[in-house]
């Protein structure tokens, strides 16, 4: 086991509750969700689809691409710590008929590889799936170099790029399956593999269409990725105080499900967006653009995310609490909005 793995395990082992505790036959710890089923699910898809290939940049263990490598070594490519080469090479492979999944930490995929994603994947509409895992501030005390609180803003600005956040394990499986026949390039934003369950079974999904998880009449919470579960938990807390809260999983950030945004604002009169992302130019900004252009007036509105700052160091759960992205914080913000 490498030093990196040791550190990663120490890091990943901190703090979160609500984890499933399951172990796979090979003894690997598969508690939690998202990133850890990335390789396994793709290996399943690859059993029946010869187009699947997986690339990574020396992070096969962190993102579990190793599970794919073990079953399909002939379609696995590790390029070493060279993210730009990985993304562009994936585009070259895509031009030859493959659907390559190129995975690395979100900060390196979206920030370091931004121009390669724009020029080599999105512009020529290559079916490359750039997978940015350990997104947001989920790398906690690793610090700003390893945080990606700008990736949604950068990625949603790129034309012909579908931007999707995986919500939990079952949702990630659905996203990977549906991505096979989705035209053009995609950016898939994953958590750190410890995202608590939202979907007890693999959901039916359509890119660009959100999923309403809870009905309500006083407020709508629009969440994406890691904030969906705490948004649901916040809705439960709000119910104890007599508020009826609609919760929507806005897993496709671009193109945004504008109909749901507008109709939710009209139906509930208040919209709170929640994202593990800089408050600038993420989901909340996309929602604001939509509401304003649609002429929705009178709806109360607030964006909850990371203020425009480089975040503190700390374990992820502590950071979520500090920035009010946990259930308690979201409920607090929601009540202020409705007051």
């Amino acid at each position: 086991m490498s030093e990196w793995q040791d550190q990663s395990e120490i890091f990943n082992g901190t703090s979160d509750t609500a984890l499933k505790d399951s172990r796979s036959a090979d003894g690997n710890d598969r508690r939690g969700t998202t990133a850890f089923v990335f390789g396994e699910e793709l290996a399943d898809i690859a059993d029946r689809d010869p187009r699947v290939a997986v690339l990574t940049a020396d992070l096969a263990r962190s993102n579990r691409a190793v599970d794919f490598q073990q079953r399909h070594p002939d379609r696995f490519l590790n390029v070493g710590i060279a993210e730009k080469n990985m993304i562009t090479a994936a585009a070259g492979m895509a031009s030859c008929g493959y659907v390559p999944f190129a995975a690395t930490f979100a900060s390196f995929a979206a920030l370091l590889g931004c121009e390669q994603i724009r020029t080599d994947c999105a512009y020529p509409r290559m079916p490359v799936r750039v997978v940015g895992h350990h997104s947001g501030m989920s790398m906690g005390f690793y610090g700003t170099s390893h945080h990606s609180l700008e990736d949604l803003g950068i990625m949603r600005t790129i034309a012909d790029l579908t931007v999707v956040c995986a919500t939990d394990e079952n949702h990630l499986r659905a996203v990977l399956r549906a991505s096979m026949d989705h035209p053009g390039a995609m950016y898939l934003r994953l958590g750190r593999g410890r995202d608590p369950e939202v979907y007890p079974t693999v959901p039916e999904i359509t890119f660009g269409r959100s999923i309403r998880l809870r009905e309500g009449s006083d407020l709508t919470i629009l969440a994406t990725g890691s904030t969906v579960r705490p948004a649901l938990d916040a809705a439960a807390l709000l119910a104890e105080d007599g508020y009826s809260t609609r919760v929507v999983d806005m897993f496709t950030v671009s193109p945004l499900d504008k109909d749901e945004v507008v109709s939710s604002a009209a139906a509930t009169g208040a919209v709170l967006t929640v994202e593990e992302h800089n408050i600038t130019n993420g989901l909340g900004t996309a929602v604001a653009e939509t509401l304003f252009e649609a002429g929705v007036s009178g709806a109360r509105f607030k964006r909850l995310g990371v203020p425009d700052e480089h975040v503190l160091l700390g374990p992820p759960a502590a950071l979520y609490a500090h920035y009010q992205l946990d259930a308690t914080g979201i409920a607090t913000q929601a009540k202020e909005l409705m007051r």
Binding site: V79, K84, N85, A89, C96, D120
Partner: protein, 291 residues
């Protein structure tokens, strides 16, 4: 396993290729006038290389431009596309008349090539430093799928300053992609002057060799040398990737442009246009200083 259904190009004579190189230069001058600006000199350095590749070496089929078994070609120095479009038109990939609207609003043909709009373009380019990674991915896809096509990437020497080139060189050497071929057009200049002054890219051969590549160095305007270099390349999937370092002269063929930093982008007007057309039509004479 030989899967190629694409007919190999018939070997062309140096005389024919010299005429094609002249055609490339003349078309570049003509199309630049439509746009009002053009990358003359970066095409002129690569004219013989492009002619030899497309009229003698590449296994491509204009009737079936997306044949999965075709050789792949990536123009990493995408700003030389103005010299590639006439070749593709001449070979029958599309109607040459389409070039008369070069760069006009809505045209498929811009300063940099678009694979989604132009038959025969295997990958869009323009952002320097990406092409070798594209070629690496194409060659790897060929290995994964058991195909036997070759992947060719034409690079400029200036773009060797891009770090991503060396990421790709390292990975192609690591994986021993024997059917990947890089052709470096060492025309000696970037935009701001000589590469040796702006950013040293030599020793190119030793640098590629240290990443596991085999190299040859040739006179990039001498067609027999180019053809001999291509003919001598091994064709095994598992082997060192091949780098042909072609010493050229930026602007070759037009005296006023040769090795001049003033002509990376330019616009010939009036009598200058006619003078340059006459000069090019007379064919290459001596002159031009190789390294």
């Amino acid at each position: 396993m030989s899967l190629s259904t694409v007919r190999p190009a018939t070997a062309a004579s140096p005389e024919l290729l010299a005429r094609k190189a002249m055609f490339i230069r003349l078309e570049t001058v003509r199309l630049s006038r439509i746009a009002g600006a053009g990358h003359y000199s970066a095409v002129f350095s690569a004219a013989e290389l492009l002619a030899a590749l497309y009229y003698s070496e590449l296994r491509v089929d204009p009737e079936n431009p997306r044949d999965p078994q075709r050789d792949r070609f990536v123009l990493s120095k995408g700003h030389a596309a103005i010299g590639l479009y006439p070749v593709l038109a001449d070979l029958g990939f599309f109607d040459p008349a389409l070039l008369d609207d070069y760069t006009r609003l809505g045209s498929a043909f811009g300063d940099h090539p678009d694979m989604k709009k132009i038959p025969g373009i295997d990958f869009s380019s323009g952002s320097l430093g990406h092409g070798l990674s594209i070629g690496f991915g194409m060659a790897m896809a060929g290995r994964m799928s058991g195909a036997d096509y070759r992947t060719w990437v034409v690079l400029g020497d200036g773009e060797l300053a891009e770090g991503q080139i060396w990421e790709a060189a390292m990975s192609a050497g690591h994986y021993r992609l024997g059917r990947l071929r890089a052709v470096v057009d060492v025309n000696q200049l970037g935009i701001d002057g000589f590469t040796k002054d702006v950013m040293t890219v030599e020793p190119i051969a030793q640098r590629f060799e240290s990443f596991g590549w085999a190299t040859q160095r040739i006179d990039g305007h001498d067609l027999p040398s180019i053809l001999a270099a291509f003919a001598g390349l091994p064709d095994a999937d598992d082997g060192r990737p091949q780098c042909i370092i072609a010493d050229t002269v930026k602007g070759r063929g037009v005296r006023r442009m040769e090795l001049s930093p003033d002509w990376h982008v330019g616009n010939l007007v009036g009598a200058d246009y006619d003078d340059v057309v006459a000069e090019l039509s007379a064919g290459l004479s001596g002159g031009g200083d190789l390294r």
